[in-house]
């Protein structure tokens, strides 16, 4: 397993212990301007709900608006050579409602946008991967100072108002006879756990078969629906997300590896990634 350690936090923690480190926002730090680039985010999975191509453009660093969507692109997905057209839905998302992928098939993405054609090819890994047995929740006593909850995706008042929070744990079996690359997503009542610095990907190197009680991020309330998606990806795609994790957590290259646009599987210089993955989902309701 490649362990991504976040040195920025180690050094900040060290300095906090020494009672000194500080940070400040640089209000007028000058960012160079760059030309626009096409960004392609494409997911082809064996789950009918997760098949889309999203096309957008890069934006200015200080621009608070969501970077502009490209709505007039031509998007075709070839499944083992057979063309399937994806058409624009809204906000740069392209879908084909009747389409879903299958493990073992090879997919080629072809996008023509802003006068250029971009392609990418991946084969869907077999679904023979991590088997999620169950999601188990336990009641957590609220600590007096709220400290033990650490960074959560809930508002502070959410924690303050609720003294009965639950932790959720995953029980699973990891097949030991093959190499797997995983990406995880977590949801509370259908809304995705969206932490900017948490890109949750893992390969199975050094991971044993029994995964008995891996804690999910976040805290949950009685009545919450907790669900997760697990993507079984190719090594190329996994490496992309691993690099993305470095970019999202970059400390400016003081200790972290120098950040750069993650190498991807799309031709012609587009940013983004073409993900072809088998998906496993699991849901539990806290009662």
């Amino acid at each position: 397993m490649k362990k991504g350690t976040n040195y920025k936090y180690i050094i900040i923690l060290t300095c906090l212990v020494l009672l000194t480190a500080c940070e400040k926002t640089l209000e007028d730090f000058e960012i160079k301007s760059a030309g626009k680039k096409v960004v392609i985010e494409a997911y082809i999975t064996d789950s009918a709900a997760i098949n889309y191509v999203r096309i957008s453009q890069t934006g200015d660093f200080y621009d608070a608006e969501r970077p502009a969507a490209i709505k007039d692109a031509d998007v075709t997905v070839y499944e083992n050579g057979n063309a399937i057209t994806f058409s624009h839905q809204a906000s740069g998302y392209y879908i084909n409602p009747s389409f879903s992928g299958s493990p073992g098939n090879t997919y080629k993405l072809e996008v023509t946008a802003e006068g250029k054609t971009y392609t990418a090819t991946e084969t869907m890994p077999p679904a023979r991967n991590l088997r999620i047995d169950s999601l188990v929740y336990t009641f957590e006593e609220q600590a007096d100072d709220g400290q033990s909850y650490g960074e959560s995706n809930y508002r502070e008042d959410y924690i303050e108002e609720n003294d009965s929070l639950y932790n959720v744990y995953m029980f699973a079996r990891e097949p030991q006879d093959m190499t797997n690359f995983y990406k995880f997503e977590f949801f509370r009542n259908g809304s995705k756990w969206q932490n900017q610095s948490a890109v949750i990907v893992n390969n199975d190197e050094g991971i044993g078969e029994a995964i008995n009680g891996l804690e999910l991020p976040g805290y949950y309330l009685k009545g919450d629906t907790v669900s997760m998606n697990m993507y079984s990806m190719t090594e190329n795609v996994f490496s992309y997300y691993e690099a993305l994790s470095n970019v999202m957590n970059s400390d400016g290259g003081m200790f972290n590896p120098p950040p750069g646009n993650p190498a991807n599987n799309i031709s012609n210089g587009a940013l983004g990634i073409f993900v072809v993955a088998a998906v496993t989902s699991k849901t539990t309701i806290i009662r």
């Binding site: 212990v17 940070e23 890069t58 891996l214 940013l271």
Partner: protein, 791 residues
């Protein structure tokens, strides 16, 4: 390459002709020069034959040897800060003369920076080197009250800090792993305590610290950019003495004395930090349970067995420990050991045999839960080294020897630490390497005005078994490395061997009594590389030997300089320019993963780097006011296939302007005031030129490596040393150190990173994509006080 071969053949010709045609004087005078107060060897004390212009200097063990014609001669033994001794001798056979010099008393003499010889700046052949005065190092304003030779070294011309509060430094555009740091000749692989806030070198026991930025003598090799040669004291041979110090962050004590008076001595010292002692005062429970400390121990024994044999044993053991909430821990440390035997074969031939051991290891661990793990890594080295000096004539000293080392690298072992851990464990295979070198060099005074030191080091490095070596379809594909072949090698089987001749030449031409010009050419080869993906190394940045897929790094450096002293050697000035050409320098692919990566060669990107610059220094070495002013202009760039789209970009070490002002003022016997001001251009940094949306992430869009710079760095520190009993004639003396770090509270940038502003409801961007650049700065104005006592 052509220049390199030409220089090499020139050196060989010089060596052969130099040795074959020396005029042999008949008799030899040799011996040791020592400090009369404690019996410590004096390194670099001069022995001059009066009215002849000839002479020599003692070596690193205080030994000298001079050839003389039959008859009567007057020898003058001198060492800066000491009273000279004049000996009139009649020579009709080889003789041994050991001399003890008295330190000049303060009453009769102004404060003097102890160097080697008064006019060394101008008259020595070597250039691009600086020796630190330990007394001055101790008086300078320290961070958290602990004086530090590395922090002082970072203020020398041509040297820049790898980041505030770190013990890493860059020399002439070289990376932090390109400095060979030796403690009693044992390599120290990580010189940092507390992530570099302190260095591992305890100033109580250090006798000398000399930095070579170029013109590195052929007995040293293995790193591209510099040699920092730190030697510990031997211990007082005359009487038992000691001291102790209490500071805000650490306390320390040392004891030294004779084992047998005037013959054998010992020295032992220890330090322990106690930053964590204050943590229980924290209102926050999780902080109270943290532990952060380091300790180190230095021990040395010195045995004068007889006239011709001396033995030294020295060792260092140090460790840093971090524990957070009893769950996460991290620790690291060095162990070094040196066993040294000085043997005088005869008046002409001095031998130093050294057996060296060095170990660096670290551990990281999580002790609870199903993700519990223990991550460990180590590097061990055993080295045997033989250095011989043959004193051919007063004009010529031939140095030759060999060095052999065996290294064992364990790049990483990751094991489950609880029964229910999800990990099965990974252990990267150990790497083994065998490094050998032979060298010969000649210190040659060709004429009265012209002298040279020339030589060559022939180094070889072998990656040896046991190992499995993979070949790759595309060695630069780190996204999905594709192995095409693997070869098994048995234990000690040679896998890949590199051989490199490394010529070294330094020349000095004396223009007149107070000025000279010097020039040098140095080739250095580096076979072990630290995987520092950022700018500054961390204790967990592992070392990687050259292997089949990782070529050694090679640097060629040319330097010329003008040296001039003023006012009877009170002021030393120097101006040097250098050009350094570095080949097969290792950089990393964007977002490289270096930990637990069995396909590590695929993330490396070798290429070219070059650095040039000018360094100026004015140093005042005598008087109540001493110190230096230095300024460096330099530029360091890289061009590496696979990095920055193959375009030229500034190195992490590219610091354009770098200036330091260091001063100590001795008001009277009781009070000494010191201060330093440092300024440097901010280091290059990689920041985005835009952003884009991917899933819920607000991702930075990059257009170039190191395309930005941190704001300029500058800082003033002040200190005062008060010795209330300095005028009393008593057995013990106490000393108060008061200091203020960062006097005008400059918020100096440590790094800049970017962040998406969190919106009200959660920490996801939601509809708000606003990004900001944030700067981390470390130390505000920090006063500190420490008290030292010595007897």
């Amino acid at each position: 390459m052509k220049v390199h071969i030409t220089i090499l053949s020139l050196i060989m010709a010089l060596l052969i002709s130099g040795i074959s045609c020396y005029a042999q004087e008949k008799y030899k005078v040799s011996g040791y020069v020592k400090d009369s107060a404690n019996g410590e060897d004096l390194i670099g004390a001069t022995v001059k034959i009066e009215n002849s212009g000839k002479g020599t200097a003692t070596n690193a063990y205080g030994f000298y040897s001079l050839s003389l014609t039959e008859g009567t001669h007057t020898l003058v033994y001198s060492y800066v800060g000491y009273q000279s001794v004049v000996k009139e001798i009649t020579v009709d056979q080889d003789i041994t003369i050991d001399v003890q010099l008295n330190e000049k008393a303060r009453e009769q003499e102004e404060v003097v920076i102890k160097g080697k010889r008064e006019d060394e700046n101008v008259k020595a052949t070597k250039m691009s080197n600086v020796e630190l005065d330990m007394k001055q190092v101790k008086s300078l304003p320290p961070l958290f009250g602990e004086p530090d030779i590395i922090k002082t070294t970072q203020m020398l011309p041509g040297v820049s800090s790898a980041g505030e509060g770190t013990s890493s430094f860059f020399v002439r555009g070289g990376g932090a792993d390109e400095n060979l740091i030796l403690l009693d000749e044992a390599p120290v692989y990580d010189p940092s305590h507390l992530f570099g806030l302190f260095s591992v070198f305890n100033t109580d026991i250090i006798k000398s610290s000399e930095l070579y930025k170029g013109g590195i003598p052929p007995q040293y090799g293995g790193r591209l950019s510099s040699l920092l040669d730190i030697r510990s004291r031997d211990g007082n041979k005359k009487e038992l003495t000691g001291g102790a110090g209490i500071g805000l962050m650490a306390s320390k004590a040392y004891l030294e004395g004779p084992i047998k008076k005037n013959k054998h001595s010992f020295l032992i010292s220890g330090r322990r930090s106690y930053a964590d002692l204050f943590l229980p005062l924290s209102p926050n429970e999780s902080v109270r349970e943290n532990k952060v400390y380091f300790y180190d121990i230095n021990a040395k024994a010195h045995f004068d067995i007889n006239k011709n044999n001396r033995l030294f044993v020295s060792g260092y053991y140090g460790r840093d420990v971090f524990k957070f909430n009893d769950i996460f821990k991290m620790d690291w440390g060095n162990i070094t050991g040196t066993l040294r035997w000085n043997h005088i074969f005869n008046e002409n031939l001095f031998s130093n045999t050294t057996l060296i051991f060095s170990n660096f290891d670290y551990g990281l661990g999580l002790s609870q839960g199903i993700q519990a793990f223990d991550w460990t890594s180590y590097l061990r080295e055993v080295r045997l080294k033989e250095d011989m000096s043959l004193y051919l004539s007063p004009r010529m000293t031939l140095n030759f020897g060999f060095s052999s080392s065996y290294r064992d690298f364990q790049p990483g072992s990751f094991q489950p630490s609880t029964d229910n851990s999800i990990f099965t464990g990974i252990k990267l295979p150990n790497l083994y390497a065998f490094e050998n070198a032979v060298y010969v060099g000649n210190e040659h005074d060709i004429t009265e005005k012209f002298s040279m030191e020339y030589g060559v080091r022939l180094s070889s490095f072998s990656h040896i078994g046991k190992a499995t070596v993979y070949d790759y379809k595309n060695i630069r594909n780190n996204q999905a490395p594709e192995r095409t072949d693997s070869t098994e090698y048995d234990r000690f089987e040679f896998i890949k061997t590199f051989v490199n001749p490394e010529p070294r030449v330094t020349a000095r031409y004396t223009l007149n009594d107070v000025s000279s010009v010097k020039g040098s050419y140095t080739r250095m080869v580096q076979y072990v590389h630290q995987m520092i993906t950022g700018t500054t190394p961390l204790p967990i940045s592992v070392w990687q030997p050259s292997t089949k897929h990782i070529d050694p790094e090679i640097a060629d450096q040319w330097a010329v300089g003008y040296f001039r002293n003023f006012k009877n050697n009170t002021y030393e000035t120097s101006a040097e320019v250098y050009y350094k050409d570095m080949n097969q320098i290792l950089d990393f692919a964007d977002n490289a993963q270096v930990f637990f990566n069995e396909d590590l060669p695929t993330v490396l990107r070798p290429g070219d780097s070059w650095s040039y610059g000018a360094e100026f220094m004015i140093k005042k070495t005598k008087g109540d006011l001493t110190g230096w002013l230095s300024y460096t202009w330099s530029k360091t760039e890289r061009q590496i296939p696979g990095v920055n789209q193959g375009r030229v970009y500034p190195s992490n070490q590219d610091i354009r302007h770098n200036a330091s002002l260091v001063a100590s003022y001795s008001l009277n016997k009781k009070w000494t005031f010191s201060g330093n001001w440092v300024f440097n251009t901010g280091r290059p940094i990689t920041l985005p030129a835009g952003n884009y949306a991917l899933e819920h992430y607000n991702v930075n869009y990059f257009t170039e490596r190191n395309g930005y710079r941190l704001p300029n760095f500058h800082r003033l520190d002040l200190s005062a040393v008060w010795e209330p009993g300095a005028d009393k004639d008593r057995k013990w003396q106490g000393e108060w150190h008061f200091s203020v770090y960062n006097v005008y509270n400059r918020k100096n940038p440590f790094t800049i990173y970017t962040e998406t502003v969190e919106d009200e409801s959660n920490n996801s961007p939601g509809n708000n994509y606003k990004k900001v650049a944030k700067m981390i700065y470390l130390f505000p104005v920090l006063p500190s006080v420490s008290y030292n006592i010595s007897f």
